[in-house]
Amino acid sequence: MLRVSDLSISIGSPDNYIDIVSSVSFEIGRGEILGLVGESGCGKSMTSLAVMGLLAKGGPWVRTGRAELSGFDVIHAEPYERVEAGHGGIAMIFQEPMSSLNPVMTIGEQIEEAINVHQRVTGSRQNLTARDYLEMVRIADAAMQINAYPHQLSGGMRQRVMIAIALACQPQVLIADEPTTALDVTVQAQILSLLRELCDTLGLSILFITHDLGVVAQLVDRVAVMYAGRVVETAAVDRVFDAAAHPYTAALMSCLPDPAHRVRRLVTIPGQAAKPGQITKGCAFAPRCAYAVDICREDPLPYAMLADNHRALCLFPRGVVR
């Protein structure tokens, strides 16, 4: 459905650049939820904005790579260009539902705007109205709420409205950039189950960006772990939790408190997360890796292909060599 390959995002000039996201590749199948996981600053949001065509002018830019949506490369297109070329299929929801809706337009107007744009392009009359979309995201008394302004709604409601706007774009792929981070835990669970439901009923593919491993375990089918601008491991969700191959992934998992085995202190990863572009040679995790040896610090660094679509950017994937 969506295949991102060799995506590099850089800052600086074309002659003198630093990659803050380098050679990122992943793909999402129909009806699948891919979790893009990593610490803040690892480049996961930047990746999603680039795929969406929302990188601001004068900021980071796409240096190499493709993002194929049903076979068409959309990486260099802004959303309106992509939509008008007939590849509208990606929509996005954001981290901050409080500030992501236009305060002076009713939520009905904001949904209709999306309906109109995509209707004009496809030429077909949509028989779904703003109200239908609000009902689709389980907003009670949608007929009333359609005339509400964003400030009259709670955070969870606003995120539902954001999802309704995204659905009105008739997407095949939904990019969700930490959509539940700003919400209460109970509301968070409701939004997650709504996303799962939409995925199952509409066959929607979701790129779910998060730093929350709890959410990952609950929601996603497959995981791509990012560290310092690179995807270091891609695997099915249970493999990541049970048989992480990359030392970073493994370390991340060991940081999760395990209620069954109460340990004295929380595990941490030694050292500080490398900033994207800070380490250009060899493995970016090498300085913090307990297993690193000299050749880890030298190029080139290949992906180790493991079983079941499982790959890790490591010379010594755990559980395989050692």
């Binding site: 959303p79 309106y80 992509r82 500030s99 305060p103 705007e113 744009v117 954001m162 774009c169």
Partner: protein, 315 residues
């Protein structure tokens, strides 16, 4: 809405009440006996006695204030020393010129300041933007009367396209064509204020463009022009609308000078001449009228802002 309007109106009336005390004492602060301040040196003893009785100058000052307030409320602002006419009538004679001048100037400010500010913001960082911002700051720094004098030199004296001074009423000979007398004054008056509105429009466009909801709008696949007009401009205008209140105050101030430069028979020139003629009742009346006007305009701006911004309701 109703309670909000009521609340705002109440606040404006409270401010007006406090301002009226200051305006009342204005006459008492001028050196000399208030009676002579109000009637001038040529007053007859009869006139002095009549006014003394009317204002009750032997009464406590509080009582005098309320008498004055009652008179003002009835439209009796006193008598002009120079014209020997009711003050309100003297002010009324200048109203047409000043109101038309202010209206035309406001139109200039809006049709120049807002669109050019939008263009500058759209080309943010370009040479065009830097040039426009620089020119705007320059115009905000130039005295209005200096601009006015050179407009007279170029368009009236050298080119002869437009009249240099005066303004015959549009209700007299010439009709609406008389508005050409107000063209140069309104341009001179608009220059610094349009410059401020331009800078404000540009700055708030850039602020709004960074908001998360603009990213949402772009993500929907809306064309850039529509994002700018429908989403960015609409929100940016909220700040601009609230600025029209103090733009109006600046306009009143600068109109005083502009009317003097162009010899326009308006309230602005009247106040200056009244100061030179020591016609204090007229000065007092004009200050009162402008304060009322200013508060009324601000109230209107406040209430229209409320209509434009759905969030205000909750505050």
């Amino acid at each position: 809405m109703g309670s909000y309007a009521l609340h705002r109106t109440g606040a404006a009336i409270a401010t007006l009440a406090a301002a009226s005390v200051i305006i009342f004492f204005f006459i008492h602060l001028i050196p000399g006996d208030p009676i002579h301040v109000l009637l001038g040196d040529t007053a007859t003893p009869d006139q002095v006695d009549a006014l003394r009785a009317k204002l009750g100058l032997d009464q406590p000052i509080i009582l005098q204030y309320f008498r004055w307030l009652a008179n003002v409320a009835r439209g009796d602002f006193g008598t002009s020393i120079f014209f020997q006419m009711p003050v309100l009538k003297v002010i009324g004679d200048g109203a047409e010129t000043s109101i038309l001048l202010a209206t035309i100037t406001m139109i200039w400010i809006t049709i120049i300041g807002v669109p050019v500010g939008v263009i500058a913001a759209m080309r943010h960082g370009s040479w065009l933007d830097q040039g426009l911002s620089g020119v705007a700051m320059l115009f905000a720094s130039i005295p209005t009367f200096w601009v006015g004098l050179y407009l007279i030199l170029i368009f009236a004296a050298w080119l002869g396209w437009l009249p240099s001074s005066g303004y015959p009423s549009i209700f007299e000979q010439g009709g609406l064509a008389n508005l050409r007398y107000l063209l140069l004054p309104s341009l001179a008056l608009a220059a610094p204020n349009a410059a401020l509105i331009l800078r404000l429009t540009r700055a708030s466009m850039l602020d709004v463009a960074r908001e998360d909801y603009i990213r949402t709008a772009r993500a929907k696949g809306i064309r850039p022009m529509r994002v700018i007009l429908r989403h960015i401009l609409r929100n940016a205008l909220l700040a601009v609308v609230s600025a029209f209140g103090f733009t109006f105050a600046a306009l009143i101030s600068e109109a005083v000078v502009t009317e003097t430069v162009f010899a326009l028979p308006g309230i602005g020139q009247l106040v200056v001449q009244s100061i030179l003629r020591r016609d204090y009742p007229v000065i007092q009346g004009i200050i009162l009228v402008t304060v009322v006007l200013y508060l009324a305009v601000n109230l209107l701006v406040d209430l229209s802002y409320r209509l434009l911004d759905p969030r205000v309701e909750l505050q």
